[in-house]
Symmetry: C2
Subunit: 371 residues, 2 copies
């Protein structure tokens, strides 16, 4: 499927131009394949296992494509800059140097090139040996934090698929019967793996292409035999859509609750979720939102696991803003309150977009503890 063009192409390039100005640099360079979220953001490449080079100089973006470009994939369909193909299989670092030297009229001695911090080491060596001075830049990660309308539409679409996947899990769990404390469905024990495959079938029927983030967690077992009837089952779906954007939704369900720890924990985690969504607004430090979320669960006597309870989501499952950042309008943030102790785990996770007024869930879904 040829990807739809992002009408905000220009805005992405403008940010590179501003970063070059601010750093008094001459060019921006990156090398990677379409599993690299920065490269995917800059080029809108679709899935491809091939290595690409990206050179931005003098206000123009150039994509250095592999020989296989025109046949094995239509990766470049959505790229709005110039595309340079090559029949030779020169190392991409060397092709980047050639392109840069051409664009900068041979001027390497006093030229500064901005690169992402994870530029492949061998490409950096080619650039340095050619005389370019390299400077790491956070500009792409920062640009990715604030989502365009086009990106928010993609995130909302994949989050909608996530909600459908969760509904499928709820449907199966409410249809399940209990035998000797273990869930059964369609005349066989309902294992975590069986439930996961059913959820994944729903996700891909919704157009999702990567379901590796689907997780079914229980305190004890659930894999070989069946899921427990009276313990919390934490269902997480974290699907990636065809355009590369991730969704995230976690719900905790108990089929046959005895009203004990898990109910109290669930009330506390729901309260922590409300606090997080209440605190998330433009200018809020994510570290503050995180600590308020943990503190609210703590006020119910609940222990929190390690790890940040808020972070950005987009072309990566975890991206900026991070705990060190402030929320800005247009950022999409995962809100993940969680309680753990020796009795088990209760967790919720949602995606919210930060608005002028505060934040709103990308897609709403019931938090009910009962399936």
């Amino acid at each position: 499927m040829a990807p739809e063009p992002d009408p905000d192409d220009g805005a992405r390039v403008d940010r590179l131009a501003a970063a070059l100005d601010a750093a008094d640099a001459d060019a921006f360079v990156h090398v990677g394949d379409a599993t690299d979220a920065d490269l995917r953001y800059l080029t809108r490449l679709s899935e491809t296992p091939h290595e690409y080079g990206f050179v931005y100089a003098d206000g123009e973006a150039t994509l250095l494509a592999p020989p296989e470009l025109d046949t094995d994939d239509d990766a470049a369909a959505a790229f709005s800059g110039r595309i340079e193909e090559s029949q030779a299989s020169d190392p991409m670092g060397s092709r980047v140097v050639d392109c840069l030297t051409d664009r900068l009229d041979g001027r390497a001695d006093d030229a500064t090139v901005l690169v992402p911090r994870h530029l492949p080491h061998d490409a950096a060596v080619y650039l340095e040996q050619a005389g370019y001075g390299l400077e790491s830049t956070p500009v792409v990660g920062e640009a990715r934090a604030v989502k365009s309308d086009w990106e928010r539409d993609r995130l909302r679409a994949v989050q909608r698929a996530a909600v459908r996947g969760m509904q499928r899990a709820r449907t199966i769990l409410s249809a399940a019967t209990v035998e000797d404390g273990v869930l059964h469905w369609k005349d066989a024990p309902l294992s975590a793996e069986r439930l996961r495959r059913q959820v994944n079938a729903t996700l891909v029927a919704e157009g999702v292409v990567d379901v590796s983030g689907t997780r079914i967690r229980v305190a004890n077992g659930g894999e070989a035999g069946g899921l427990p009837a009276s313990d919390p089952i934490v269902v997480t779906v974290e699907p990636r859509g065809a355009d590369g954007y991730y969704g995230l939704l976690t719900r905790t369900v108990v089929v046959d609750s005895d009203g004990g720890w898990e109910r109290r924990a669930h009330v506390g985690v729901e309260a922590a979720r409300r606090v997080a969504l209440g605190e998330l607004e433009p200018g809020a430090a994510l570290r503050w939102v995180h600590s308020e979320t943990v503190a609210e669960a703590g006020s119910f006597g609940l222990g929190a696991p390690e790890g940040d309870r808020v972070h950005g989501v987009g072309l990566s499952r975890r991206e900026e803003p991070s705990l060190a950042d402030e929320a800005a309008v247009g950022t999409v943030v995962a809100v993940k309150p969680c309680a753990v102790d020796e009795k088990g785990r209760v967790a919720l996770a949602d995606l919210a977009v930060v608005t002028e007024e505060g934040c709103e869930l990308l897609v709403d879904a019931s938090t009910s503890l009962s399936p």
Copy 2:
């Protein structure tokens, strides 16, 4: 699902030891997350968005894990070396330097560290600033080329799922009806997207976690309306299983063939496939297998597209051996004969494992042009 341990852990570490000996180097270092196939190979990490460090020195492997390790994933369950957690969020490059300095008793001045060519640039800068000399090594890519029994089992399992996905496509295409030259299925036009989702549902029901490689190609259109009844439909499935290994299967189908170009092209591509599988044996140069494959299709008057018709497959969709390499026993190679001209495209693709005697298909599947 906790990944099963690979009984060949020792063999992977032995290769690093041999590479250090051969290069007279002191340590091997890598940094990345589990989307990095080299890191996944070395550690058997399961899916995780977190950055890890890997340090090998003095015969021992150490995994530098993120603070979130114990809660957000059980990524380290299958790692057989030492695991160092951290509550601080120091840059991974700095943690790698600390670990290395500790392991090498502070000796940085004369120490050489081997790194993969795609080590992130910022980690390289930390190491160089600490006084370590870096040398790129191809050892991990080379080690990955030859698959252990454990890896071959994973590849065979995901390839078996690929065959089921292809059977699903054939079932739908043979049940399709023709209206005005366009395929219909279950009372609606059968678009490429509809077919793709059906195939993907079968793939994930087989336990596959990434179906982004499923492609339905026709010469003209097929997306918005229905697929053409009388033109070749090239179906590719390239699924990734839960352990990270990729399958690959391509078949070309014509529902209502008029026996023209596509039949002759299909005979030629089948012949090219036989030639490729006949030439693929220990010691065979992949460039030779490639050119013989292209030449055989050419002898039927068929044009070949750009790109190599043979390459390794494993934790990446495209890895060693490449055209520059020779086939070795235990390598798993994609064989992809293809014909294109203005009338369309006919393609086949399979995975074969190189054996003492020659090669054998990981899983066999009909090549029939009729669904």
